[in-house]
């Protein structure tokens, strides 16, 4: 499985990767991007099965990256992990096609739930 983790904070990327269940991590290739622009480019390059995407980032934010990814790949599975928990932000990303919205910081339990819901099925 290919997983793309997008966040401008290296600590945050590390925390997201740390929360992925070990049995999944050991069988996956994990890629990282520091902003939305890199995420869109990386998506084209690796075609990941799952994307974890932050919203507030420099260069290109997560809203725009999500729009570009989903316009080109309508089946893309994108999970938003963000500190921006405004109702309108949640509504907007769900309309743009995100599969789920998770408030930062993500716990291993929440991560396991995501994999059970969006990947195993």
């Amino acid at each position: 499985m290919k997983i793309l983790v997008v966040d401008d904070s290296s600590f945050s990327r590390k925390m997201i990767i740390k929360a992925i269940p070990e049995e999944i991590k050991s069988q996956s290739e994990i890629y990282e991007a520091e902003n939305g622009k890199e995420a869109v480019e990386k998506y084209e390059e690796i075609n990941p099965d799952l994307v974890f995407l932050d919203l507030t980032m420099p260069v290109m934010d997560g809203f725009e990256a999500l729009y570009h990814i989903r316009s080109r790949h309508p089946d893309a599975t994108v999970i938003i992990i963000s500190a921006d928990i405004q109702q309108q932000a949640v509504k907007e990303v769900m309309e743009l096609g995100a599969r789920a919205f998770v408030k930062k910081p993500i716990s291993p339990e929440k991560m396991r739930e995501i994999f059970e819901k969006f990947v195993k099925n």
């Binding site: 290296s10 600590f11 405004q86 910081p105």
Partner: protein, 200 residues
């Protein structure tokens, strides 16, 4: 101001803690206003408390009028929050709540909203550290840059300051503010310890 208090990795964790806490605090305000705030990544720096006035003067217009909202937080992590917002931004913020904005309402609304913003921020920040905090009542004053320096003595009571520069864009209105998290030395040491335990 060029004091190395946190290494690169520690600063990255602090930045993320601020992003998370600020995101939560802004969401409460935005939802109350029934508006959407476009969040920019807040700029975060950590300085010695003795340098706070230099930083304030660097960031604000010396001839401008500002609302200064202060509030103490207490517990394992303790200190004081200082939120500085220029008069125009406070007016913009107040106008989002009231169609008729009066001078006395600006101060009341600014106190109320910045109290929610700063206390939510500190509560979320403390939660990430795994500690609990309580608050004293906040106070507000309309003050000039010189007034801040002459009438306040933050540097004697505190050791370190986290300086957060924020710009919230609510629809077409820009609201610019600075949040200073003043800490005692023991609280800074605790913060550093907690950051390092997150890095393990």
């Amino acid at each position: 101001m060029d004091v190395v208090m946190l290494n690169h990795e520690e600063k990255d964790v602090l930045q993320e803690m601020v992003n998370i806490s600020f995101g939560s605090a802004t969401a409460i305000i935005a939802d109350m206003m029934n508006a959407f705030a476009k969040l920019a990544v807040p700029s975060v720096e950590i300085i010695d408390a003795k340098d706070i006035f230099d930083i304030i003067l660097e960031k604000i217009d010396r001839n401008g009028k500002y609302f200064l909202v202060t509030q103490m937080y207490m517990g394992d992590f303790e200190g004081e929050t200082v939120f500085l917002i220029d008069y125009d931004s406070a007016y913009n913020l107040a106008s989002k709540f009231d169609s008729i904005v009066m001078e006395e309402n600006i101060s009341d609304l600014t106190l109320e909203l910045t109290n929610i913003l700063t206390s939510s921020f500190i509560r979320s920040f403390a939660e990430l550290m795994g500690v609990k905090v309580r608050f004293s009542p906040p106070s507000i004053e309309l003050i000039s840059a010189d007034g801040i320096i002459k009438q306040h003595d933050f540097s004697n009571n505190y050791s370190k300051v986290i300086v957060i520069s924020t710009l919230l864009e609510f629809e077409k209105e820009n609201i610019k503010g600075f949040l200073f998290i003043l800490m005692k030395e023991a609280s800074f040491k605790l913060l550093k310890e907690k950051i390092n335990s997150m890095l393990e």
